[in-house]
């Protein structure tokens, strides 16, 4: 029973982290395409801003994934 709970906890941590990252990066990509369609001459500037914000968006989900992997591989 304890093992099953640990596996569920690890899966929830990784799954919810993945959902958060997917929503954030999906919105980011959509906004980038919107901006590029409105002003194509700004694509190089938007590209670097997109790169920076993408690095920031995936920070917290990766911590969740790391903790989930710790639960799965080291605790369970």
């Amino acid at each position: 029973m304890e093992m099953a709970l640990l596996y569920i906890a690890g899966a929830l941590m990784m799954g919810l982290g993945a959902v958060g990252a997917a929503v954030g990066i999906g919105i980011l990509g959509g906004k980038f395409l919107e901006g590029a369609a409105r002003q194509p001459e700004l694509i190089p500037l938007l590209r670097t801003q997109f790169f920076i914000v993408m690095g920031l968006v995936d920070a917290v989900p990766m911590i969740g994934v790391g903790l989930g992997l710790y639960v799965l591989f080291a605790v369970a």
């Binding site: 990252a21 990066i25 990509g29 980038f32 395409l33 590029a36 369609a37 194509p40 694509i43 190089p44 500037l45 590209r47 670097t48 801003q49 997109f50 790169f51 920076i52 993408m54 690095g55 920031l56 995936d58 920070a59 917290v60 990766m62 911590i63 994934v65 790391g66 903790l67 992997l69 710790y70 591989f73 080291a74």
Partner: protein, 138 residues
């Protein structure tokens, strides 16, 4: 420069310069944290070093694939494809390194590993926001 690749533009060069500064800050803070934890115990220092490398290696690969390797086309679709591919590489490498550390490194101090990992994330977050003037109005 490799064939089929073009010179990086002004914005890319600025972003690369900023990344170099942030990377240097993160490496220095990792060395300081590992040195301080070495006074506590060897496993804590080793774990913090592993946590820092788990963060720094995928970040470096992400920046290399996203900014240094320039595509010949700069259409919105090509840019999105390149950045999403870089992100997938970063996530995959992070997960592989986490699994390798949890399986191979014994004994492991999870508090120093995750503490260093989270600290480097925060350092990168704050340094990136401070270096980018366009985010200061947020």
């Amino acid at each position: 420069m490799r064939k089929g690749h073009r010179k990086p533009g002004v914005h890319t060069r600025i972003a690369l310069q900023q990344f170099r500064k942030v990377f240097l800050i993160q490496v220095v803070s990792l060395v300081i944290i590992a040195g301080v934890l070495l006074l506590h115990s060897l496993s804590a220092a080793w774990s913090s070093l592993c946590g820092g490398l788990i963060f720094l290696l995928p970040s470096y690969v992400f920046v290399y694939r996203a900014l240094v390797v320039q595509q010949t086309k700069s259409t919105p679709g090509a840019v999105i494809r390149q950045l999403y591919t870089s992100e997938i590489w970063k996530m995959g490498l992070s997960i592989a390194l986490f699994i390798a550390v949890f399986i191979l490194i014994q004994p492991l101090n999870p508090f120093s590993l995750f503490g260093t990992y989270i600290w480097l994330q925060l350092t990168g977050f704050i340094a990136q926001l401070r270096l980018n003037n366009s985010f200061l109005k947020l």
